[in-house]
Point group: C2
Chain length 211, copies 2
């Protein structure tokens, strides 16, 4: 059904569209249109139509989109019809917050193992998960066919752990460590770095309003 290869920036917006469609379903709505989606998301209607056009035709001209149909198509496009098993490496403060976050399971991702190398943490419980020794990482990834990992370890440990994840079959890494990982091209890495985001904002805030 894909017509042209969608740019990465377009793919990155699909989760926002999916989130909004989930919300519309919750609100009991049956149809929507690019104008409404755009208004709610702060994106132009034309941009939304163009983004979706990479993946096929989802609405009749003038009649908008069927909410459930478009949601289901976005889930299919993003490969979210199955639940993805995910390992979480790092059971510090951030690891705790991530392990306790209900948004993952509600949106297609189930944490199947939490790992740390600190003997003080191994064996402790986070929610219903027992923190496991990171020595067992490869075993759990292999047994579960895990392809996606969340990396919440200190910067100095991130590359070593990433290498082990990739060697075990992981192909997507959500990296919270403030580093740039070196991985092979078939591995997709996404970074979450709040400091970089704050600095990005400071560029604008500092220009308009010196504290």
């Amino acid at each position: 059904m894909t017509k042209r290869k969608a740019p990465d920036i377009v793919v990155g917006r699909l989760p926002l569209y999916l989130r909004m469609l989930n919300q519309l379903v919750e609100e009991g709505r049956s149809t929507t249109n690019s104008q409404e989606l755009g208004d709610r998301l702060g994106i132009s209607a034309a941009q939304i139509r163009k983004d979706l056009s990479y993946f096929g035709g989802f609405g009749k001209y003038g009649s908008g989109y069927d909410v459930v149909y478009l949601r289901d198509q976005l889930r299919r496009i993003l490969h979210l019809q199955q639940t993805w098993p995910v390992v979480l490496v790092g059971a510090g403060d951030l690891g705790h917050a991530l392990a306790n976050y209900h948004g993952f399971a509600a949106n297609g991702f189930e944490i199947v193992g939490i790992f740390d190398n600190d003997p003080q943490k191994v064996g402790t419980l986070i929610g219903s998960h027992e923190v496991q020794d990171v020595a067992r990482l490869e075993e759990v990834i292999g047994e579960g066919g895990v392809k996606i990992a969340i990396l919440a370890v200190p910067a100095g440990a991130a590359q070593t752990v990433a290498d082990r994840l990739v060697a075990s079959g992981v192909r997507g890494i959500l990296c919270y460590a403030p580093v740039t990982l070196k991985t092979s091209p078939e591995v997709k890495v996404q970074y979450i770095d709040p400091v970089a985001r704050l600095q990005h904002m400071a560029y604008y805030v500092g220009a308009g309003a010196k504290p």
Copy 2:
């Protein structure tokens, strides 16, 4: 010194360059060049030169960049010569992790207040910070001249809190709630949404390797 208006995507890369320059300073290096920065960051050398050209000339042709000088210039461009006071709203698991994260203070941002509306949390300590009643939010923002906030509240509360932040003078919001905030154009909002990032990855991982 600014020559042309830098696109937002370019501004977003400056913190990565700054982080790498900080690392080079720590390594005791005095000079670098776009090729080395690019190799370390997984960005082309040409892209780095083009990005930096928006802000002036930072190196002599062929001799590369002075590490400390370029770092200091990036800090100036990003308005990081001062430390920014920041308020954190939400003292749940995520708020705890953020409050305990040393990366903020080390990189230009000092958390000056943590707020929650849960009486069970108000008065408790997170590190050296006492969680304050969110009723005091406007007072602390006003007294501290706070322009930047981190929003770590549930989705349902995010817009209301954001409105209060903006009304009190905040001009930059780092939003962890999975929502799209409605704010006036002079307010810069950055979102951190791990679910959206995982879904973005699943698009690629699912295409290459069905679990």
